[in-house]
Amino acid sequence: MNTRPIHLTVNNQGYEVLVPEDATLLELLREEIGLTGTKEGCGAGECGACTVILNGKPVNSCLVMALECEGASVRTIEGENADGELSDLQKAFIEHNAFQCGFCTPGMIMSARALLDTNPDPTHDEIKEAMEGNLCRCTGYEAIIAAIEAVGGIQK
């Protein structure tokens, strides 16, 4: 398989990487750049475990070709504690017991982050809609939504 160079920004750090033509953004992040916080679940856009923020929009990175991302800005779960401290969302997920096995959590947090970036005080229904594409098989969704509501500043 041919490889090609690609330039992109991940968590505010610039990268120039050689990637196979058929690589996905998920594979670029995990295999080429070494950011393994983003998980592969279904590999078919069903589960949302691989969610990252691509140019400001949350997407399934398993369904984005790496070479589509020339010049792109990507944010992953590793960007949440870039300064060495857990982010507000990460702390809220811990406080609300919003994960058990944790496999879906990086994707959950990236979808939530993208929502809060554009809508800092979302309603319960807006949170549910934004999180529709992220599946959790152990915790259920109430604790996850509660964690996001807490960061959004919603008073119950």
Binding site: M1, N2, R4, E21, D22, T24, G43, A44, G45, E46, G48, T51, K57, P58, V59, N60, C62, L63, V64, M65, L67, E68, S111, E129, A130, E132, G133, N134
Partner: protein, 292 residues
């Protein structure tokens, strides 16, 4: 896996298509990449068309609304040009899969994929949509009522790139109703779009009840005549639907829900509850009892 092509002009795209084997077009990739990975389809090249400027425009003129092939469902929902008079289109955009996928999935991709259960298809049909396709031989406009030929089949030639979807400017009342098994993760078990133009022209379209989406054009029916023709319209829709039983629903369930949705649309037009400014999908609860 196929090679990856990424032209930045139409001319470059046409040149890349010439003699290079079978090429599949990548817009959102939400169907294409899944099918390639599964091995359900194969091709020599994948062509990312999103860097071609002609595919990235959205334009509202005095006569038409034109939506470029690179426009995603969520972009369409955020576009002020796509107003409430295009309610079926907006509601179908909001009903397609989930927000993550809507950030990638495109209107034109959904049309070209030509799944009988594709959300955008009935909505586009009742709004008299057409697509403009281009090749090295020139451009042609294809009305969507003549576009679909079978399950995941359409009239496009292998070297034709769809540039945009075009809708006439319109005024009227419309909606898109979708039944699905799981909120956020399913194609339609059955879907019905309806649009009643201010001049009295009534169009209904159904998804997932035949090998292609079905358009039923009832012509002009004055509002005062709708109550008297209610049964005739509903029976015409029921007679046209030829669903099968598959993993998503039984034939009988599809027939019952198709009829129910049709009744809701016609009754909403008669009693005025089906208004102009419905911006959200009118999905009904998944566990709703069948009361046909």
């Amino acid at each position: 896996m196929p090679g990856f092509l990424q032209p930045t002009t139409l001319e470059e795209a046409f040149a890349l298509l010439d003699g290079k084997g079978e090429t599949r077009f990548l817009a959102g990739g939400t169907d294409l990449l899944v099918l390639l990975r599964l091995g359900a389809i194969s091709c020599d090249n994948v062509m990312d068309v999103k860097r071609i400027p002609e595919l990235s425009t959205l334009r509202l003129t005095d006569e038409t609304l034109e939506i470029g092939a690179a426009w995603t469902c969520n972009q369409i929902l955020a576009a002020p040009e796509v107003g409430s008079e295009y309610a079926p289109l907006r509601q179908a955009s909001a009903a397609l899969a989930n927000s993550l996928l809507r950030n990638r999935a495109t209107l034109v991709g959904n049309i070209c994929n030509a799944s009988p259960g594709g959300d955008m298809l009935p909505a586009c049909l009742v709004l008299e949509g057409s697509v403009v396709a281009a090749s090295s031989r020139g451009e042609r406009t294809i009305a969507l009522k003549d576009f679909f030929t079978g399950v995941k089949k359409n009239v496009l030639k292998p070297d034709e790139i769809v540039l945009r979807t075009v809708f006439p400017r319109t005024q009227g009342r419309g909606t898109y109703l979708k039944k699905k098994r799981i909120h956020g993760h399913d194609l339609a078990q059955v879907s019905v779009a309806g649009f009643y133009a201010d001049d009295g022209h009534l169009r209904l379209a159904l998804g997932a009840v035949a090998i292609t989406p079905l358009l039923l054009d009832f012509g002009v029916i004055p509002a005062a005549e709708l109550p008297a023709r209610r049964t005739e319209i509903i029976e015409a829709v029921a007679a046209a639907a030829k669903p099968i039983t598959d993993v998503r629903a039984s034939r009988e369930y599809r027939l019952a829900m198709g009829r129910l949705f049709t009744e809701r649309i016609i009754d909403g037009l008669i009693d005025g509850s089906l208004g102009l400014a419905e911006d959200r999908p009118c999905t009904t609860p998944a566990r709703e009892a069948v009361t046909a």
